[in-house]
């Protein structure tokens, strides 16, 4: 194994076993590892470490909503009272009740677009190629495969020791992933 590896990939049969494995790896002090499953597993949220606070995404979304909503209100205000003031039906130039309607709508738009945007940023997607895809068995991850991958760039990573650690967890499959 001269080529630098991406990490070690282990397959477990069933979500519970995956969670146990993840816990074990974490207790062993590893940080740069990740678990893969066909469906979200709530327990893993606390096990697999995350760099971002839980509420980051909702907060960013709210920020997006406010930005676009307020921004659009200001646009309306500026166009109808500053840039091109004109008497429309004898209504006040600054007809705030009317201006609120599209502003709120735009707030929704802003929220959804930021939500999607940050989803992609935080998940580092789209990324069409990834070393894990070179592992043929990894296909099962969207069907019934439960994987755990300890990455080589983890300070504690050592091909031998890490492999032994994982072996003890009796994986269905244990293989090194090339970078």
């Amino acid at each position: 194994m001269t080529a630098p590896a991406y990490g070690l990939l282990a397959r477990f049969d069933g979500p519970e076993r995956l969670v146990e494995a993840a816990l074990a790896v974490r207790e062993a002090g590893y940080r740069r590892f990740d678990a893969f499953s066909p469906f979200p597993i709530a327990e893993l949220d606390d096990v697999v470490p995350s760099r971002w606070p839980r509420l980051l995404l909702p907060l960013l979304t709210a920020a997006g909503a406010v930005t676009l909503g307020v921004g659009f209100y200001l646009l309306q205000y500026w166009t109808s009272t500053v840039d091109y003031p004109i008497n429309v039906g004898g209504r006040p130039l600054h007809s705030w009740p009317s201006f609120l309607m599209p502003s709120i709508t735009l707030a929704f738009l802003g929220a959804s677009m930021t939500a999607v945007f940050w989803l992609l940023v935080l998940t580092r997607l789209p990324r069409l190629h990834h070393p894990l895809f070179d592992v043929p068995e990894f296909d099962a991850v969207t069907e019934n495969g439960f994987f755990l991958c300890v990455r080589a760039d983890d300070p504690l990573y050592d091909p031998g020791r890490t492999r032994r650690l994982l072996d003890r967890l009796e994986p269905g499959l244990l293989t090194e992933v090339a970078r």
Binding site: I86, V88, G89, G90
Partner: protein, 981 residues
């Protein structure tokens, strides 16, 4: 047009476009269209296609000679008289337009040699600055698609005729005009009368007769009976305090409409002396609509009523025919005395007119409200009798040559005379006509008649005043006027201008002629030509018992000229065809008018086809239920069912086809039964009642007096409030959460006086002509897509058998708080600095949301490319007004182009715009001055003073849209309870 070729009597006749090898016209005829939009066009476009063709033709014709390039015919005009006239500025020509031979003075606005608008001539007694609907539409008939532009020979196609006419003149002269009959329309023109006279001198054997299917000859014959001589009768309604119209329609269309309307309203502006109008009539008329006391009576009862009135005033011994006059009538007449006037209409027999003349004389009205002068129309025999005589002569073979000038007897003669066939039997027949009409089709030769706007001539107003006719544009080569033809036949080669000028040269004292001539051309009227009033006295043994109209079972039939196409001469005019008839609101059609009760009895509903059988002749036509129509009689509007004319053909039914020469106006013994067919009738107003909403408001005369009394002390408005009367007419001002915009400059507003509106439609069509509003055709109107910016709502109130009739002109209200503007997504309709609700055509994307939110529904939408389809021939377009593209909204602009003109003028002269300087098209055309327009920020302006009246109210003011257009409530003179009983 192929489908139309079968109903041509002769295959050799081809359409005008075929004769006139104009490429554009041919394209239209063959139905090859420039783009897909037209290729997929529906039948709706048939009319518009034709009008497009007319543009093509006019384009070629109009370019032949513009006045400017024709030094031969210098045209002197009001504006043009000023040297160094700026191109682009309109020229105004003073001229006269004929109707029933009488002249109506007009000013023709012309841009670069193209007439675009017609206004009244203030100096002319029959206009006083206003016009009727017919005059407004005259421009379009210049460009009638099937106007003749070349001489035609039956079966022969085009010919040049110059030589031929000379030969004819010689031939005629050879045998003194033996067997020559000259048939003209009614003639008032002094020069033409003289011309014909000299022709007849030259041809002693020849005879001249005049023919109009709707002539008013009975009135003159009545005078002949009463006074021993045929006299013109003219009413001065301004001075009348009691008016009794017996089957007469002085406010209705006709040569006198404008003057009568103005006079009538003048007599009703001041509540102190408010004339009272009694009307006996079978078919509701404009006069009946304004009546204070209206009585639907069968025309059979008319003679008896006239006699009863006469008897009640002791003019004739009472007759025991058991006629009961309504209470108050006779008292009114007695009280009014010289200020009273009784009048009978063209349907009434001469004997009835004789009675009426006698009554007026007895009342002392003659000289105040009634004026008798010598006849305005030429003395040649006229009327059905003359025509019948001609028919007899033709049968007797006594007529070898017939010359028909500007008359269409083959179409509009009574059916039993069957002139179409008879004219064909005359060996030589020559016809001077503007179109290949029914008569032209029968004549051997047809010469193209010049349009009045292209003609030199002169016409007498009803009071005798002569109005000169001068061309506003050069006539297409080959066309000629009646005067020219007559001169040619008399062997003269002089051009029309010389003939007219020559005639008047003798009329003026020598020396002063040139100056007088120029002044006359400038003013349009010849000074001092009004007729002297002739003192009258009853001729001995004048009284002959009025004949009892044809009795018999079945329905009584009335014939009436149509308010839009008159006797049929305007049937080819799309603007008039699309002008909603004042009472039925029908367009592009006529229908058998019938009382709702009678229709119910016969099991007929609006639009149901019915077969009318009258003395062996029958016609199938739709019926239209007309509230207020007398029961058991039907009215047949004349002027439709043409067999010729590209626009007119096939519209409506031909009432002449059942008209009999022995009973041309009122006939009896008709049978009407459902035919089972349904007809598509296009009407612009589906719903006739106000469903209990106070849209048209009115105030009883009595209360008004009280209001005016208070008003006398302290300004109308204050008075209104104090008296608390105002709340009766106008609602109180509602608060608004919206800010007030203050207008530094003028703020335009309008007041419409419902008390002055006689529903004559002049404003509607004036607006259409001024603002380039297209005609869209019957199918589009039937779909509810008429484009008129100004409409007149007509409401029935009360018992359908005898309802009160309301007219309400509705145009854009220019609301301060305009609902339409708020919903426009693109700022295409907004307020301008003077508070106008403006429509920005090029910004409009056509959501039509504004129309949804307009409570007055005055907005119009270009569903198709009407402007481009010839719905409005570009050649007639007002260059100051945008032609609207497909898919954009449009609506009344308060004639913003006129405001703009005034503003520029004022700026040039560095002064504010004066009150009354801006005159909207509707305002200018209105005979009764019902519209007041001006600056509402200036308390002294006429409009401000009008709006200060306690009668002022806003339509739907409860919506608080703050309309700039407000209404002055109509003043009523309701019968007192005991009278009503």
């Amino acid at each position: 047009m192929t489908e139309r070729d079968e109903d041509r009597p002769e295959a050799t006749w081809r359409s005008l476009e075929a004769l006139d090898g104009d490429a554009g016209a041919l394209r239209w005829r063959d139905g090859e269209f420039p783009d897909l939009a037209r290729a997929t066009a529906t039948g709706r476009r048939s009319l518009l296609k034709l009008m497009g063709a007319s543009v093509a033709l006019a384009g070629t014709a109009g370019c032949e000679r513009l006045p400017a390039e024709a030094p031969a015919d210098p045209i002197v005009s009001r504006a043009g008289a000023t040297p160094g006239h700026v191109p682009g500025e309109p020229l105004f020509f003073a001229t006269s337009l004929p109707l029933e031979g009488y002249g109506r003075g007009v000013l023709v606005e012309s841009h670069e040699g193209r007439p675009t608008k017609i206004e009244g001539n203030p100096l002319h007694p029959a206009s006083l600055g206003a016009t009727d609907a017919f005059a407004q539409a005259a421009i379009l008939s210049l460009y009638a698609p099937d106007r003749l532009r070349a001489a035609l020979r039956r079966g022969g196609g085009r010919r040049r005729l110059d030589g031929t006419l000379a030969q004819l003149a010689a031939e005629f002269a050879a045998d003194g005009g033996a067997g020559l009959r000259l048939l003209t329309g009614p003639v008032s023109s002094p020069s033409l009368t003289a011309g014909i006279a000299s022709l007849l001198d030259r041809l002693p054997e020849a005879r001249w007769l005049q023919w109009s299917p709707v002539g008013d000859g009975n009135r003159l014959d009545g005078a002949a009976l009463a006074f021993g001589e045929r006299l013109e009768t003219r009413l001065d309604l301004a001075r009348a305090s009691v008016i009794v119209a017996i089957d007469d329609d002085p406010l209705g269309p006709g040569p006198n409409q404008v003057a009568n309307g103005a006079g009538f309203i003048a007599g009703r502006r001041d509540p102190a002396r408010f004339s009272r109008l009694w009307v006996f009539e079978a078919c509701p008329s404009l006069t009946g609509a304004r009546a204070d006391r209206r009585f639907p009576v069968s025309p059979r009862a008319v003679p008896a009523i006239a006699r009863a009135v006469a008897a009640a005033l002791g003019v004739v011994p009472p007759a025991d025919d058991g006629v009961e006059l309504p209470p108050g009538l006779v008292e009114d007449l007695r009280r009014a005395g010289p200020a009273a006037v009784v009048t009978a209409g063209r349907r009434a027999p001469p004997e009835v007119h004789a009675l009426v003349h006698a009554v007026n004389l007895a009342l002392g009205a003659v000289g105040t409200t009634v004026h008798h002068t010598r006849p305005v129309l030429a003395g040649a025999p006229s009327g059905v009798a003359a025509l019948a005589a001609l028919a007899a002569e033709i049968d007797a073979g006594a007529v070898s040559r017939l010359v028909v000038i500007d008359a269409n007897p083959a179409y509009d003669a009574p059916a039993d005379l069957d002139l179409a066939r008879r004219i064909r039997r005359v060996p030589f027949s020559l016809c001077l006509a503007s179109r290949l009409d029914e008569t032209a089709a029968e004549c051997l030769w047809t010469l193209p008649l010049a349009h009045p706007l292209e003609s030199w001539g002169d016409l007498r107003a009803p009071n005798g005043t002569v109005g000169l006719m001068q061309p506003a544009l050069a006539p297409p080569a080959g066309t000629m006027t009646a005067l020219e033809l007559v001169a040619r036949l008399a062997g003269s080669e002089a051009p029309a201008r010389e003939l007219v000028r020559g005639y008047w040269e003798q009329a003026f004292p020598p020396g002063e002629f040139e100056a007088a001539w120029l002044r006359t051309l400038h003013d349009g009227v010849v000074e001092g030509t009004a007729f002297e009033e002739i003192p009258v006295r009853l001729a001995p043994g004048w009284e002959v018992p009025p004949p009892v109209p044809a009795q018999g079972e079945g329905l009584t039939v009335l014939f009436a000229p149509d308010p839009s196409v008159w006797d049929g001469q305007f049937a080819d005019n799309a603007w008039l065809q699309e002008l909603p008839k004042p009472l039925t609101k029908l367009v592009w059609d006529n229908a058998i008018l019938i009382a709702p009760a009678t229709a119910a009895r016969l099991g007929l509903a609006n639009g149901d086809g019915a077969v009318l059988e009258l003395h062996g002749r029958a016609l199938e036509a739709p019926v239209w239920l007309l509230p207020g129509h007398a029961p058991d009689c039907v009215t047949l509007p004349l002027g439709y069912g043409h067999r010729r004319g590209d626009v007119a053909r096939g519209l409506g039914f031909d009432a002449y086809s059942v008209r009999r020469s022995e009973a041309p106006w009122v006939d009896g013994g008709a049978v009407l039964q459902p035919s089972g067919r349904r007809h598509l009738l296009a009407t612009t107003q589906d719903h006739g009642t106000m469903v209990g909403r106070d849209l048209v408001r009115s105030v009883p005369l009595a209360r008004l007096a009280a209001m005016a009394a208070l008003g006398g002390e302290a300004g109308g408005e204050a008075a209104g409030e104090e008296a608390g009367e105002e709340t009766e007419v106008a609602g109180e001002d509602l608060p608004s959460i919206y800010p007030e915009y203050d207008y530094s400059g003028p703020a335009w507003g309008m007041a419409v006086d419902l008390n002055a509106c006689i529903g004559c439609n002049a404003c509607v069509i004036a607006c259409q002509v001024e603002n380039n509003v297209p005609a869209v055709g019957k199918e589009e109107v039937a779909r509810g897509r008429e484009m008129h910016w100004l409409r007149i709502d007509r409401y029935w109130e009360g018992d359908p058998a005898d309802p009160r009739i309301h007219f309400q002109p509705v145009l854009c209200m220019h609301c301060e708080k305009a609902p339409c503007e708020v919903v426009c997504p693109v700022n295409a309709t907004v307020h301008d600095s003077e508070g106008l609700n403006v429509m920005v055509y090029n910004r409009c994307i056509g959501t039509r949301y504004c129309s949804n939110n307009c409570p007055y529904k005055v907005r119009r939408f270009n569903w198709f490319d009407y402007a481009d389809e010839g719905g409005r021939p570009e050649v007639t377009a007002n260059p100051d007004v945008t032609l609207r593209e497909r898919g954009v909204m449009e609506k009344c602009t308060y004639c913003v182009q006129r405001i703009q003109k005034a503003r520029i003028q004022a700026k040039l002269e560095d002064r504010p715009i004066a009150d009354g300087e801006v005159v909207t098209a509707c305002q200018q055309a209105c005979p009764t001055r019902a519209f007041t327009f001006g600056d509402i920020t200036d308390p002294a302006s006429a409009v401000s003073r009008a709006k200060a009246s306690p009668l002022n109210y806003g339509l739907l003011e409860e919506l608080n849209t703050r309309p700039r257009t407000t209404y002055l409530a109509r003043i009523d003179d309701p019968p007192a309870p005991e009278e009503a009983s």
